[in-house]
Structures are given as C-alpha cells and as structure tokens.
Subunit: 442 residues, 3 copies
C-alpha cells in the first residue's frame, strides 16, 4: 500500500477486538451470572433503571456527539466512542466485581505468596481453586451496570485528549488500560484509607483527564504544525456537538445522583449547571477581544459546574452550589482561553477536547471545596488537620496514579506496532471510514 | 469599531449576566433551602424525576433545536435558548415561591402601607422583618423545579417571536420580564377568582405567545425588506429542527401530565398529537398550490393538538381529544399559511417562529373547548352563565396582561442602550459567535 | 402538470389521510374509552410510562433518523415515518383490542355463519348487536399504547425496504396493511397453538422485514439503473443516521423488556448489544478490501444482537447472550456485504435500508436459539420433537403470512392510481417537500 494512504486497520483492529471479545465471553461464562429477581424487587429496579438510562445516554450519545466538533471527525468521534465504551463496560463489569470480591473475605487467591518463618517468600499453592463452589459468582445487577458505565465515561474523558491523533486499535487499548488503572486506584485507596471514594468525580473525571493528557503528551507529534488544518469546527459539526453537550448538561444531575444516592445532590447539580451555563457565556464574551462567544469554550465550561459538584459529598445549600458552579466555570474558561495554548507551546502537550479545563480543573476544585466544607464543621484542630491530610493524600495518590499509568500507556501506544495514521491524516474520518461518494452501503 | 460590524456584546451581556447571577445567589442564600428527604419519600421523588426529565428535555433541547430552522441561526437558537432558560429557572424558582408565600398567611411584608384614622396613608415599619425566623424559607423541592421549567418554557415561547432580531442581552431581559408578568398574572387570577390556573396551557402558551408577538410588533424594523434574505431554512437546519420538534412531540404528554397530575390527560394528549401529526401533513399538502409539504408548517401544526389539550382540565373521551387535535391543527395550519403574512403586511408585526399559530391559537381553542365541555355537564342556566363569564374573564385578564407587559417590554428593548444588531446582521450567528473558519477553539 | 415533475401529492394524500382520520375518530367514539385510574395504580403506571417513553423514542425518533442516511431523503425519512407511525398507532390500538375481544368469550359477532341440521351454512342474525351494552369497550390503558407502538415499529421496519421508491400515500397504505397482517397472524397463532407469541421479535421484526422485502420485490423498477445516483449517504446524513442508530441501540433493552416483562432480558440485551457493536466494527474492517469501516453496515449490524435476543423467551446466562449477539452480528454483516447485492441482481429485489440483514436474519437466528435452549432442558425425546415442530410451524406460518400479505400489498401499491414518483425522483425529498431556497415558511 502506497505510503500516502493511512495504514489499513485490517492488520490490527479486527484481530484485537474479536480476540478480546472471545476472552470476555470466556470470563463472563466463568464469573458472571444474572441475579434472579423477586417480584418485590422489580419496583426498586425500575427506579434505578430510569437513572441508568440517563447515564447510558450521557456515555453513548452525549460524549460521542460532544467530541464531534472537529470538522471532519464526526464518524470517528461517535463510532470510536461507541466501540471503546461498549468494550469498556464489559471489562469494567468484570474487573470491578473481581476487585470487590478480592476485598471481601470470601475470596482467596489460589496462589498466595506467604512469608515463611525464615523470612523468605515462598509461593503456597492453595488447594481451593479459583472456580471452587464457594467462590461467589459476580451478580450482574443494575448497580454493576451503572458502575461499568461510569468507568466507560472515565475512559471517554481520557479519549478526549487524544482524539484525532490515534487509530481505533490504540483507543481500545487506551480505554482498557485507563479503566484498569482507575479500578486499581480505587482498590488502593479503599485499602489504605478505608474510604470508598470510587464513584466520585475525583476518580471519574480527574483520573480520566490527567491520564489522557499524559498519553497525549507522550504521543506528541512534533512534525505537525502548531495547529492542524482540520482541527476546527464548522456550523454543522458545531450543532452536533451542541446536541451532545446539551445531553450531558441535562442528564448530569442523574449521573451525580447515581454516584451519591442522595437526592439533594440533584438539586445542587441542577443549580450549579444553570449558573455555569450563564457564566460560561458571559465569560466567553468578556475574554474575547471581539466580544463574541466561542462555541467550544462555552460547551466545555458550561459543564464545569456539574463536574465540580460531583466531587462533593457534603450536602450543600443551594447558594453554595451556585457559587461553586460559578468558580468552576471561571477556572474552566480561563483554562480554555490561556492554558490550552500554553500547554501546547510550553510542554508540547496537545489536548484535543480540552479535557484538562472541562474535567480535571473543576474536579480538583470540587475536591477542595468538599474538604473546605467539611473542615468548617470540625471544631477540633487535630481532627481537622488529620482530615485535610487524608483528603490531600487521596488526591495526590489519584493524581500520581493517573500520571504514571497515562505515561506508560502513552509509551505503549507509541510503538510502531499500532500503525497510527500519518500527520496529514489526523483529525480525519477518511483514514478509517469507507467514504460516501466513493463506495456506498452495498 | 467600524459600523459595518455588529455591535460587540462585550459592553452589555457579561456585566448584565454576571450581575444578575450574583443577585440570584444572594437571593438564594437568604430565601432558598433544599428540602430534607425522608427515605420513604425517595420513591415518590423518583417518579416525578422521570417526568421532570421529560420536561427538561423539552425546555432545553426541544425548544432550542426547534427554533433552529433558520439557515444561519443554529448556534444562537440553541445557545441563547440555553442562556435564557438557565437564567429564568433561577428567577422563576425564587419569584414563584415568593408570591406563593405572599398568598399564604405566614407572610407579612416588613413594610406595610396602612390607612390611618385620618385617611392618610402612612408607612408602618413592621417589627418582624423579612428574614425573621418565622418566615419560612422556600423549600426547593422537585415541584418547584418543574414549575420553574414550565415558566422557562413560556419564556422560550415568547422568544420564538423575536428570534433573530434581538441580541442575547435583550433576550435575557425579555425572558425575565415575561416570567415576572406570567407569575404576577397567575397571582392576580388566584386572588380574584380563587382559582389556581397557573399550570395550564392558557398561562404557559397563550401568555408567552401574545407577549412575544407584542414585543416583536414594537421592535418592528421598518427598513428591513419584507422577507429577510437569511430568513429561510435549508436541508441541514430543517433536519435539526425536525429533531427538536420530534422531542417536543414525543414528550408533550409528560408536560401536560406534570401540569394536571391526572394520568388520563397523557392518553388524551398522545391521541391528540397523533391526529395532529397526520392532519398537519395532509393539510399542508392540501393548502399548497404545488401539492407539496411545507416542513415548517408541519412542525408547528403537529404540536397544536398537544397545546390545545394542555388547556383542558376536564377528563376527555379519546375521540373528543382526537377531534380537538384535528381542529387545533386546522386552525394552526390556516394561521401559518394566511395569517402570518397578513400580520406582517397589515400590522407590521413579524413573528419569526409563528408562535401565534403554534401556541396562542390552539391554546385559546383549548380554553373554549374546556369551557364548552364543562357547560355540557351543567343543567342550571344561571350557574352555566356564571361559569362562562368566569372563564372568559380569566382569558381576558391573561390576554390583556400579556399584551400590556409585552408592549412595555418591547419599548424597553427598543432603547438604543441595548445596541441591537443592524438589519443586515439579523438572523445571523456571525453577529455574536466567533466563527469556525476564522478563530477556532483555542 | 408537465411530466418532468413528480406527480403532486394533492390528488391522493390529503383525502386519504383525512378520511382515515375521520373513520378512526368514529371507531374510537364507539369502541375506545380511557381507563379510570385508582390512585394506588398511579405508581404502577409511572413505572411503565418510563419504559413506554423509551419505546416511543425508538419508534418516532430512532427509526425515523436511522432511515435518513440517504443523502437527499432526510425530510421524507423522518416526516413519513412520523406520518405512518402516528396513523398506525391509532389503527393498531383499535384492531389489537378488537381481535383480543374476539378471542374472549364476551364477544359474539352480530352476524354468525352457522351450520344448520342439513349441513348447509346459513347466516343467523344475532339479536345482540355490536354496540350492545354488554360489549366491553376497549380500555385504553398503557399496555395498549405499548402494543400499538410495537406494531408501529413493525410497520416502520417494513417501510425500511421500500423507502425512496414510494410516495407517502403508498406508505400509509403499506403501514396499515402490514399491521393488519401482523395482528391477524398473531390471532391465528394464538388460536392454533394456544400460544401468545405476539410481542416477540419474531412477529415484530421478521414479519415486518419479510413483508417489506416482498412489497419491494413486486414494486421493483426495472428501468432504474442498478444503483440510483441518489442512493448514497454523505457526512451530514451519516451523522443524523448515527444519532438514530444510537437511540435504537441505547433503548433496545427497554423495547425487549416491555415485551417480556422479565428484568433479566434487559441485561441480556445490554450485553448482547455491547458485543454486537464491537463485533460489527471489527467485521466491517475485516470484510472490507481496503480495511475501512462502512458506516451503514456497522449501524445495521450493531443492532442485530438486540433483535436476536428479543426473540428469546428463555432466561439467558450472560455469556450465552454475548455469543448470540456475536453470531447475529456476523450473519448480519455477511448479509449486508454479500446478500444485498445478490438479492438485487439475482432476484431483482431492492432493499433500501437492508432490513433483511438487520431484522429478518437476526430474528430467525434468535428464534432457533430459543428453540435450541429450550430443547437442551428437555429430556424426553417425544416432547422435544413435538416442541421443535411446534416452534418451526409457528415460524413457517408467520413467514408465509408475511410473504403472502407483503406480495398482495405490493400489487396493490403498484396500481397507477397511487401516482408514484418517476424513477428520476426516487430517493429525493424534492418530489414531496416545498424546498427551502424556493419557497420558505410563509
């Protein structure tokens, strides 16, 4: 094949995707079964199901369409989003449950490393093996599904930073590694701090965004001009990404609710998002030399309020939620206007969808707001300090974990083995999709 | 700045939006708190939440995308819809609750004007001030949210008449004034007639549509040619507005349900809308000289059935709902074909989205249908007449109120202070948005 | 009118649609009433309502937008989908309930054919006529609505095969006949096998798809070149159809759930669809000579898993659902790549949206998978054989019924009376819609 064409996906994607699917089917055959419902539980299920559907829309429709603002990247934005998310929910279902049974007392590794009396490590083969009857199969309940979808959301956030510069095989690997890192990080924090922070925004957004940015940094293509000619939006793709953004904006209260299972967080998120939307538009005008609104900035910054509230587990007064939404939007807009280019020129780190401004910064802001709100209620200085240290440690561990795993993933994806597209073919559907006017559905 | 560019938004929008946000935050800090839920109430909440989400989709996605049929107005249609609705829900939350506590006995104005014995008015300072402990804070429950969203829907209807001829600062003001008028009108009717008609279509659609049309009449730009060159749709924007219209069409049963809290109205609305959609298409062909379907007419008229049913509080037989849907669509289609141009040429009143045909006429039809259906069941002539007078008075008060407040708003918006765009820049995103091919998200 | 224009819709559509509407209103006036709800039933209703909304979105938004991939067929794809579905839900409500009261003991035909003693048939006029007081009116409950929407889905599947080659009056007739055939077939199977298979995919998808393909076969236009110049997609319509496909993909678990009322089928469908999406993309690359993804193939094949699971009434282990999803996608992709063109050249049968690959093949696969899974649990060979015969008979009856009714419908639609568009005007909105740049909404 002449080098002027993008390398064919033929060589990598099908083998990888089908092989993984077969592995997943085998894992599910051994480890996953569907819970049997009693009639009385149906009601409870159907509550959760409506919420689950909101999350489902966010993950599969919202993120996909929002990442579609690039002028020639529509098919890839939605298509690869679907591919990665569909794969990740399967993997996350398995790994989440595996790790949680690892924490519970029921589980024993079939192979254990014990320290023997002489202080030497020796491998002890357990008689009871992995598939023994007392090993509880993963119950595939709706909560599992919601958790899997939240993991997929995190993977899609990470993908946002590398969109257009990677092929789908690379994106698949990135998604699976990101989720693995995320779940391991959660397990680690749970073990160290007896603290179940899994479903907070901290994990979801901050981990995903920093992971993605690091990967993008390693993958930086120095030959590419500062701004790729196809890295822009037009009025058509702008409208599709507005659709995606509005879906995220509307259903964000649901995604925060399923994490917290506390109804009042819905109100907080709702108000915070309303303030965010207004503030984002006002700030976009204010920071623009011509006094015009930048669509992409507004789309990102209007979500910042929802991300920030997601990190907070304290019950908020409405006005506090509004203030947090305003601050998150302010930081996010500033990030878009000034930090993104700075990151590109100073650190050679290109962040396609601006995930750092949309997800990482508001997430960290929310985390500190939560800390501050909790400290206000604590009188004893010692407890307060211990509390603060506790919070900051969790943040540091998560951040380091995401930076390290993101960097490793970046180097893995940089291997020639993956046959990424040429610089000219970045941000372009034509590298991967049979194109309409040439060969139509036949 | 050279006069050939649209005036920058810089001078008005950010200051106005941010100032309002800060005022809202202060108001919320003093007056709004989030209800504490008992576990047993969670279920009840989650029912309502699913319905609330349908309304949410209608307000933020449906109206936004439906108003997007104009060929170069896509970003503004959705973006300014989001801006105004996000602002209005905050203001409506506050003002709704404020007025309802004004009606309840708990509330006393801190400052009261009393007539003293000599007949002179004297201002009496109440000792108990506004923030006293026995002043009940507004409980920010889900019903409040639903009501706020319905108010936002009304504001968006009003905006439909002036789309493309105003800048976002003007739209913001229009939204806030419309909602204030709407809520005051409701308070007035409640006081006069001991009749809680707030959430019926009468208020929502008729008030909004007439308000918008009056504003548009005052704002009429005589220099503009009869039809602006950008006031047309193309196949892309037509499809986006189809998406918006279908969302409204599908979720309309929910919006009528949350108003009536009567399940059978869902069925009525559903059937009425089904008949509306078929009739709208048939009539559009019938009234077209070439026998072709007009997309914009069909989109508006297919919703007329839902609007009309929303004004009816009697329980309907299915076939009656279908007949009402058919009549509403007939009137709405005739309004689109003949009245819109007549309004423009005879009264110099330009109605961008045809809100008069979609919202006002079907709403008034529904109101009279309701009256008629109630009269059928009344035997006593005296009671029937009193009933009819009662209904017609409410209609007249609402109509006058909307005409007056709409006209006042129009004159306020006509002030040079707001720096509206030039005629050439009407119906055009470029006046307000940084444009793709020039400066991209950076 | 000059022959170079498509025949005007004026002559047929309005009369037909309005007449049908009036007939429906009369039928509803006599036979349909709305159930009165007790307060205690509200909860139950609201569960179902959320599910109903998912089906509603699939039928009116999903199918419409998915059939919109053709480059100049966007308005027609969504508009005629709305027209036919809105009509069909009314007709299906009536005919479903009519047939089910036909089965129940309450109902007696006013005119009955009895065999008298001499063995001659004689018509006996029943005294009790159709509208007698003991004839139970159809209760218009939410289950009725869901069933009506499922019938509409089936009609939309059938429409998929003839899109672009028929005018809306023909599509209306096709929709009504398809639903009649579907409901009669269900009645027949119920009568013969005492087996209520109505709501399974077998009926919904296989019947619809085969019906549509047969109609399309009869309507084949031999003069048209093998591939019509407008039968292709572009990046804009591709994105809209991606939106439609994602809506179907996301809400498919709900459509399978409302049919089975068994929660575990939701999980099965969810997993099956996830595997489908990944497999579809991998196979599309694998079967493409250039190693690129074909958007239309992927969109169809990614849904195959959901269709297959819908035909299964056994409770599935998760891994079995995943395997079925994989197999269904494999067959569906092969069907798209090889069978569609073969059908066109060998049998002169043109299937616009590839419904054979998306709906018929996965549906039949699911049916056999269900049979196989049931046979595995049966020990007794005699029962097993009887069971298998039973299953295969139901399949054969449904298939024959759909082929026969589809062919008859095709011949009915071929009549010159319907004034179909010329070959040049196939797959083109301009034949039916007032076009933007010529005459705008006025």
């Amino acid at each position: 094949m002449a080098p002027r064409y993008a390398p064919s996906l033929w060589a990598r994607l099908p083998a990888m995707a089908l092989m993984l699917e077969i592995i997943f089917i085998v894992l599910f055959a051994f480890f996953v079964e569907t819970e049997e419902f009693k009639k009385t539980k149906n009601q409870e299920f159907l509550y959760l199901y409506a919420n689950f559907q909101d999350v489902h829309v966010i993950v599969f429709l919202g993120f996909g369409f929002m990442s579609m603002f690039l002028v020639r990247y529509g098919f890839s934005g939605t298509g690869f989003g679907l591919l990665v998310a569909a794969m990740v929910v399967q993997w996350a279902t398995f790994i989440n449950a595996f790790l949680s049974s690892f924490h519970s007392s029921h589980f024993k590794w079939p192979v254990q490393i014990n320290l023997n009396r002489q202080g030497h490590a020796c491998v002890v083969m357990q008689r009871k093996d992995l598939f023994a009857s007392d090993f509880q199969k993963i119950q595939h309940v709706v909560v599992t599904l919601v958790n899997a979808e939240l993991c997929a959301a995190s993977a899609l956030v990470a993908m946002g930073a590398v969109h257009g510069k990677t092929n789908p095989a690379q994106l698949l690997l990135l998604g699976l590694l990101e989720v693995t890192g995320l779940v391991v990080n959660q397990g680690l924090i749970k073990k160290l701090f007896k603290n179940d922070t899994f479903n907070t925004t901290m994990q979801l957004h901050v981990f995903g965004a920093l992971f993605g940015v690091m990967t993008s940094w390693v993958l930086y293509r120095s030959e590419a001009e500062p701004r790729h000619e196809k890295e822009k939006f037009d009025s058509k793709t702008g409208l599709f990404s507005t659709l995606g953004m509005l879906l995220l904006w509307m259903f964000w209260p649901s995604i925060n609710f399923v994490q917290a299972q506390e109804i009042r967080i819905m109100y907080s998120t709702y108000l915070s998002l309303a303030v965010s939307a207004v503030t984002a538009m006002a700030l976009s005008v204010l920071l623009s030399p011509k006094g015009k609104i930048n669509l992409v900035h507004v789309q990102g910054a209007a979500l910042a309020g929802g991300v920030a509230i997601g990190a907070i587990r304290t019950v908020l007064d409405p006005w506090v939620a509004m203030v947090i939404g305003m601050c998150a939007t302010l930081l996010s807009t500033l990030g878009f206007r000034y930090m993104k280019d700075h990151m590109l020129f100073a650190f050679e780190c290109h962040d396609t969808c601006g995930v750092l401004s949309v997800h990482a910064i508001p997430g960290i802001l929310g985390w500190f707001a939560d800390l501050f709100l909790q400290l206000v209620n604590i009188d004893d200085a010692t407890i307060a300090i211990r509390f603060a240290v506790h919070y900051i440690c969790i943040l540091l561990i998560s951040v380091s974990m995401s930076l390290v795993t993101g960097t490793i993933t970046g180097f893995l994806l940089k291997l020639k083995f993956w046959k990424p597209q040429q610089d000219r073919k970045c941000f372009d559907d034509q590298a991967f999709w049979e194109f309409p006017h040439l060969a139509v559905h036949n």
